[in-house]
């Protein structure tokens, strides 16, 4: 099961992704409409305000009409006030829209992930899934918070300013148009170069990061071999390459602002001289020149904004594309019709016309399965189990032991054959109901942040405190829990990091016990556990298995000697079956495993 990594930077299907993202945004139609109105008002106020310089100078200041000046300034003041309110308005509404959208997107993604088959999680790195929620969602959020409004405002500003310039003086506008073309050229050249170096920086950053990862993880070996200097030397090479690229990328992107800003000063200078000439020749008045100059000064800002925000927007779209790609993976199919009825006297399977008591008889008939069609993992497996029976699976690594448990609860679907549960094919039973009559205890114990009580109750949410404590006692976990600082109310954090491996295993057994399942699947812990706790775990598991159908994946042979049947798996086939004594006598594969001639894991 190769883990796949996907980190493309540019969106591949721009139109489609944009459409999908828009459908999210469109849930806030009214708000979005108000944002557009506000942006128009806000940029309009700014453009109008600058235009007013013309009549103010021409009609009031130069002629000395102070009363008129006061009146027109009042008008300008009111326009400005609306502008400020509109600016606040669109920013405020936009973050609301963006947060609504992001919340919905994040929830939809999470909900969808919960419905995906386990195979998806086996194939995909957790880090990759996490990065959909962190990097990708963040990028979208960033774009929605700022880029969308900024780009829109910039376009409006450019258009509005251009129109006003044309109205004031078409001749001077030609100068500005030429200068804008120069600016666009600069953006293209410098921006292109800088994005090349940004790409390089990203690549070197990846190199450096994976070097860091490899050698920080292997730091103990580095020390044992006194290899610190060599590791540092290798690091320095990468670190320097990274610095070289990021220095170039940063220089270029930082130089953009002064270069563009001063290009606009050049057009300011050209307008001032040419405009001066025109005023002298009587082709233009001072007021017009005044507002035109102010326009020419502000032209570079929206341009550089568009170029900056476009990058943010593209990053957001690339992120959105990855998110939507996950959302398009089909959910786990559940076409079962048989449901579970829980009653005081016991549980029943409800088929169309029958009410069958849940017992826990499991039968695998000629089951074959492979994660990929080319590589069968299990071949023609036949196993039969009933309550009170302990069935153990042993075999070398890769023999297919763990795979069997993935099939019984339908984490994966079998290719051929049939699995029967109380005589019913498991494919006919609703998955949720099927799984709720089974418990698995995995070798890596996963706990959740919350109290010990809550973690055990995860097995059955309506379990009373007394039932939880009973389960803990059955699992041999009660004693150590009592010794925790706050007993059952002790908060576990970071996957139970404050507990030992053995204690976590005991909690997992208690969690399975409280579910009171008919069928148990136990994957033995392989990691280091002290002998005392190991004893506790073994007896806890034994107590849990009493009266239930149990499947045990064995990583140590000592714990399954009392199993009723031991299935020895080799390359996906059951090569031997029988109890411990029978198999030892047979001197076959089991015997070799037992005496260490073949390694178990």
């Amino acid at each position: 099961m190769a883990k796949q990594k996907s980190m493309k930077r540019k969106p591949q299907h721009l139109a489609k992704t944009l459409q999908q993202l828009l459908s999210y945004l469109m849930m806030n139609k009214l708000a979005l409409f108000s944002v557009v109105i506000c942006i128009i008002l806000s940029t309009g106020a700014g453009i109008a305000g600058t235009y007013f310089i013309r009549p103010i100078i021409n009609d009031y200041i130069l002629p000395g009409d102070l009363g008129g000046l006061a009146r027109i300034l009042m008008v300008v003041g009111v326009i400005y006030l609306f502008g400020v309110l509109a600016t606040y308005g669109y920013n405020r509404i936009m973050i609301q829209i963006s947060q609504n959208t992001i919340q919905k997107l994040r929830q939809d993604l999470f909900d969808h992930l919960q419905d995906l088959p386990i195979g998806f999680f086996d194939r995909t790195n957790n880090g990759d899934i996490m990065s959909r929620f962190t990097n990708d969602v963040d990028n979208i959020q960033e774009a929605l918070n700022n880029s969308v409004t900024q780009i829109l405002a910039a376009f409006l500003t450019i258009t509005g300013t251009f129109v006003m310039m044309l109205i004031i003086s078409p001749i001077l506008t030609i100068v500005i148009v030429v200068m804008v073309l120069v600016m666009i050229l600069i953006i293209k050249v410098i921006g292109g170069k800088s994005s090349y170096y940004f790409g390089q920086q990203q690549q070197f950053l990846g190199n450096t990061n994976s070097y860091i990862e490899e050698y920080v993880e292997g730091q103990k070996v580095v020390k044992v071999f006194n290899h610190e200097d060599e590791v540092m030397a290798g690091f320095d090479v990468r670190n320097e390459a990274l610095q070289g690229a990021s220095q170039k990328a940063q220089t270029l992107s930082n130089a953009m602002m002064p270069i563009l800003g001063n290009t606009s000063f050049v057009s300011y200078a050209l307008t001032a001289s040419l405009g001066g000439l025109m005023v002298v020749r009587g082709m233009l008045d001072i007021g017009s020149l005044g507002s035109f100059l102010q326009y020419s000064r502000t032209f570079s800002q929206p341009l550089s904004q568009v170029s900056q925000q476009t990058n943010t927007l593209l990053a957001a779209l690339a992120g959105a594309e990855r998110i939507f790609a996950i959302m398009e993976i089909s959910s786990e199919v559940d076409d079962g019709t048989v449901t579970l009825e829980r009653t005081e006297t016991g549980n029943f399977w409800l088929t169309e016309n029958q009410r069958i008591p849940v017992v826990g008889n499991i039968e695998l008939k000629d089951v074959s399965f492979g994660y990929t069609p080319e590589e069968p993992v299990l071949k023609h497996i036949n196993v039969w189990a009933k309550p009170g029976l302990k069935v153990a699976f042993v075999g070398a690594t890769g023999a297919g032991k763990t795979t069997i448990t993935n099939l019984i609860n339908r984490f994966y679907e079998i290719d051929t054959g049939e699995i029967l549960y109380d005589g019913l094919p498991i494919t006919t039973i609703k998955k949720a109901d099927l799984r709720s009559t089974m418990s698995i205890v995995l070798q890596d114990t996963h706990l959740f942040t919350g109290s010990v009580m809550e973690n055990i109750r995860y097995g059955r949410l309506d379990a009373s405190n007394v039932e939880v404590i009973e389960a803990a006692k059955l699992a041999n976990a009660h004693d150590f829990i009592k010794r925790l600082p706050r007993g059952y109310d002790t908060i576990l954090s970071g996957d139970g990091g404050n507990l030992s491996q053995g204690q976590r295993q005991l909690l997992a057994i208690a969690r399975a016990a409280v579910a009171n399942p008919n069928v148990l699947i136990l994957d033995e812990a392989t990691s280091s556990i002290d002998s005392h706790t190991e004893q506790l775990i073994t007896t806890g598991m034994d107590q849990l298995m009493t009266g239930r159908t149990s499947f045990v994946i064995a990583h140590r042979l000592s714990t399954i000697r009392n199993a009723d049947v031991i299935m020895v798996l080799d390359h996906g086939e059951i090569v031997e079956r029988g109890n411990h004594e029978e198999l030892i006598q047979k001197k076959g594969m089991y015997y070799k495993l037992y005496t260490g001639q073949i390694e178990l894991d």
């Binding site: 310089i53 920013n91 919960q114 899934i129 103990k220 044992v224 990021s246 220095q247």
Partner: protein, 576 residues
């Protein structure tokens, strides 16, 4: 924030000055522009002097070009200093981590060290660059623009003296209010991510207990909380733009009104009035940038803290007081009253009062239940951890008398967790001895029973290993690690459960090789299988941190309960 990182800026000490210099030039040019424009209008146009107009127009173009070059150079120096300091910090972190003792690494955890070196360091670098450019630029712009405005007209400049503090104070309050809110937003993010992480890691648990619905609800609650915190924080920041606009617009109106009156009384020209309008946006823009940088700085504070933590952690294992670098004479080992616990916590002692000796060239086998302290014991010999109490002697001298490098050079250790690095098999083996010849490498691989399977690969010793040796089986990795250790030609060779994935026959051949080819090397073997250590000169039975038995296989069998018990469980099967 700056103080704790200054040592890493030593190479770039002068860069902030260069930056200041070029940005000052840029700012001065920019600030002079409106004055030139005012001259054109008030003198050139008024006197219809075209030469005057074009001359000053030329000056403006030249100023713009100078400013452009200066600005680009300023950007260059800011970027060079920022990325340079970033690289030095990264290097210092790597160095610090290389010097970390095992217990330092245990305390930080590998993944947290990696984030500190990558994300946190990049954050700092970005903020440094922004600081160098904008923190220099904004105050300069403010000062120069106000000075020039005063030159034109003092009364009118009073508008700036009112507006600037107003905007400054408002922005200050916005940033100050926002900061704690961003802080709690960060916590909301952490909580959300924790729910995600736990869910993905434990997805089998979630699915097998059919808890999808509850997990969705749990996430929805955190998601809503996140949104609330985000809005709470951004709501404040949202005031930046309108406040800025409000100030600019008010200044415009004030300048037009008061300036209009002054033009009317011929105190200033219309051009000068227009230059004032130009200054409004210049001055207030620079303040705006300041608030932007401050937000960035507050966000980076946490990263600096985390990086400084790494940089300031000193390894508690050092050889500072060892003056003479004495060589390790031989592989004799003696433990005298050794107590050990992780983190010096005497309530939780891993090893208690250990006393034993091994002669140089002998083989010691260690066996005992998991958690009995076997791995801890052997890690004390090359001083990977320091002991709490007692003494350890290697080659007749206390291990604290050796330079750590010398000590570790004479001890080769194959850890329980085998780490191979990306690169060829040959390169990996040469970790043991970088000057090893092909013959020596092959010989070590033969002793470790690795040569045959290496030759089965199409590229032999040049086979490229993936990170962590992903393309090898467990047993193959173990054998490569053993070969790597043998190549070191150590005085002491320690194998910590290093043949667990190797079948018994190959395991036996490896031990044979030690016996025949490494007669002068002291070998310590930790094993689960009796067969792996039965032939050792001495066998130590370790239980709960204490020596439960010490002797040969024959001596222990029958007299030591634990040893006999392990033997019987392992052998009984074979005898049935």
């Amino acid at each position: 924030m700056i103080k704790s990182l200054t040592p890493y800026a030593s190479k770039f000490k002068k860069y902030p000055l260069y930056c200041l210099f070029f940005i000052a030039i840029e700012v001065i040019c920019d600030v002079v522009q409106p004055i030139m424009m005012a001259l054109i209008i008030d003198n050139g146009i008024a006197n219809k002097d075209l030469d005057y107009i074009f001359f000053h127009g030329m000056i403006m173009v030249v100023l713009a070009i100078i400013a452009m070059i200066a600005g680009a150079l300023g950007a260059y120096f800011a970027a060079t200093a920022g990325t340079g300091v970033g690289a030095e910090i990264r290097q210092a972190e790597m160095k610090a981590i290389q010097n970390f003792s095992f217990s330092n690494v245990d305390r930080f955890s590998t993944s947290s060290l990696i984030t500190r070196m990558t994300n946190d360091t990049n954050n700092i670098q970005m903020t440094l660059i922004a600081m160098l450019r904008l923190l220099v630029r904004a105050p300069l712009m403010l000062v120069f623009a106000i000075i020039l405005a005063f030159q034109i007209n003092q009364e009118l400049s009073l508008i700036f003296l009112v507006a600037t503090p107003f905007l400054g104070i408002t922005l200050f309050f916005i940033v100050r209010t926002a900061f704690p809110r961003f802080f709690s937003l960060q916590r909301a993010i952490d909580r959300l991510n924790r729910v995600l992480q736990e869910n993905f890691i434990g997805i089998r648990v979630v699915k097998s207990f059919v808890r999808g619905k509850e997990e969705k609800a749990k996430f929805a609650a955190e998601n809503a909380n996140y949104k609330k915190s985000a809005l709470h924080a951004m709501k404040v920041i949202m005031f930046n733009m309108p406040t800025m606009q409000l100030t600019v617009y008010s200044c415009m109106i004030a300048v037009l009104w008061f300036g209009g009156n002054l033009v009317n009384t011929n105190v200033i020209g219309a051009g000068e009035l227009l230059s004032f309008i130009a200054y409004i946006s210049q001055i207030l823009m620079s303040l705006m940038m300041l608030s932007f940088v401050f937000i960035m700085i507050t966000r980076t504070k946490a990263s600096v803290q985390r990086v400084v933590e790494v940089l300031e952690t000193k390894s508690e294992i050092n050889d500072d007081d060892v003056v003479i670098d004495i060589p390790v004479a031989n592989g004799a080992i003696t433990f005298k009253d050794v107590d050990f616990s992780y983190g010096g916590n005497s309530d939780d002692e891993i090893l208690k009062q250990l006393n034993f000796s091994i002669e140089s060239g002998h083989i010691l086998g260690i066996i005992g239940p998991t958690g009995s302290g076997k791995s801890s014991l052997v890690q004390l010999i090359p001083r990977l951890y320091d002991i709490d109490d007692g003494e350890i002697y290697v080659g007749g001298k206390n291990i604290r008398q050796y330079k750590i490098k010398t000590l570790r050079d004479s001890v080769a250790m194959v850890l329980q967790k085998n780490t191979l690095f990306s690169g060829t098999i040959r390169e990996n083996l040469m970790w043991g001895n970088e000057h090893a010849t092909d013959e020596e490498i092959m010989q070590a691989a033969q002793y470790a029973q690795a040569h045959d399977f290496i030759m089965d690969f199409p590229d032999g010793y040049q086979t490229v290993l993936e990170q962590g040796g992903g393309n090898l089986s467990g047993g193959q990795k173990q054998r490569l690690c053993i070969a790597r250790a043998i190549l070191k030609q150590p005085k002491i060779l320690i194998l910590d459960d290093s043949t667990s994935a190797v079948d018994t026959e190959t395991d036996g051949k490896i031990r044979e090789a030690f016996f025949h080819h490494l007669p002068d090397t002291t070998v310590i073997i930790i094993a689960q299988r009796i067969s792996s250590i039965a032939g050792a000169d001495q066998i130590m039975v370790l239980n709960e941190g204490e020596i439960n038995g010490l002797g040969t296989h024959e001596e222990l069998l029958g007299t030591n309960a634990i040893y006999t018990d392990i033997y019987e469980t392992q052998e009984r099967g074979a005898e049935v």
